[in-house]
Symmetry: C2
Subunit: 184 residues, 2 copies
Amino acid sequence: MAERRSDATRAAILVAARERFASDGYERATIRAIAADADIDPSMVMRYYGNKEKLFAAAAEFDLQLPDVSAIPPDQLGAGLARHFLNRWEGDDTLTALLRAAATNEAAAARMRDLFGVQLLPVVAAACPDPADAPRRAGLVATQMLGLALCRFVLRLPPVVEMPAEEAAAWVGPTIQRYLTAPQ
Amino acid sequence: MAERRSDATRAAILVAARERFASDGYERATIRAIAADADIDPSMVMRYYGNKEKLFAAAAEFDLQLPDVSAIPPDQLGAGLARHFLNRWEGDDTLTALLRAAATNEAAAARMRDLFGVQLLPVVAAACPDPADAPRRAGLVATQMLGLALCRFVLRLPPVVEMPAEEAAAWVGPTIQRYLTAPQ
DNA sequence: AGTCGATGCCAACACCTGTTGGCAAACGTG
DNA sequence: CACGTTTGCCAACAGGTGTTGGCATCGACT
């Protein structure tokens, strides 16, 4: 498929959609507002993405880019993962969009579950002693990382917002480490 | 003020509102649906609560009922708080409603910040070594407890949902404990 | 019995939503 | 140049939203 002239429009829509979904959530992010941000007509959004649901699906495509666990010393896994999550979150609106939307939109919640099942679970399975424990351990890791993201990027709890990323990772790292490798 | 005949209606509205806000979030919980659940006319909601925002404010009124820290052995504070949070969450729709709504509604987010500032912060201040650290420590506690609630009651991550409350508290307890009392 | 406020429902409003179809201009190709 | 396709905008639809005002009914009190 050759490069089309409309690719720029498609991309602009996606950027605007991510920003709106991230700041407003699924229902309050209107197609009209997204189109206005992208400086095009609302009907263009429909033509290129079908409907709002599919637009969100396209905008919420995300790769956590989790590192290879075997490349990290086992005792620094927790801190490493914590730092990686925070970096990934700060640099991209997509995860905040997904998190905000997932609170009220079932499809977005399903996407979130998928994200952690497909991307986080294997990493945890490779890092924890007994692979049979992996789901539970991955779930626990999710509670801490998503909770941190929720307080920092969505609810904006002042103490959590003001904390430097480095310090947040230092606090949360041992928690992740324990969820990954602690016995029982 | 004597008891009015409309008190039952008022209460029914509040119950229906909490359920709807908890399961649908702020925007998708419509006044019409709430009124239908309460078996009354939508205009009644307006008469008794003014508008949707005020209705939510009334429905999201919540007391964490945090225990007196001095009554608990200092080394069991983390586990105790974790259990208390989970109990409080399971037994009442209000917190889920607040959490879901806070993801997309700024007023709800402000309410959540207030809840933690007014109710959680003093408890943490009384429990941690240096009161000057209290805000940061309370923020960290919030990340773990809200993250757990998010994964369990909102996103419904299977491993976190299936985990018995007792086990969840056992895992999360030491984390809370560390956030409360660990040095630095 | 008659009065007055409280309670409730109905119908409607103004607005916003996702979504659609048609029409004009621009483009690439023969 | 003429052709069909792509890209874009405009106008409109149908349905849902919060919210309002008017009108009937009920209850209590004089």
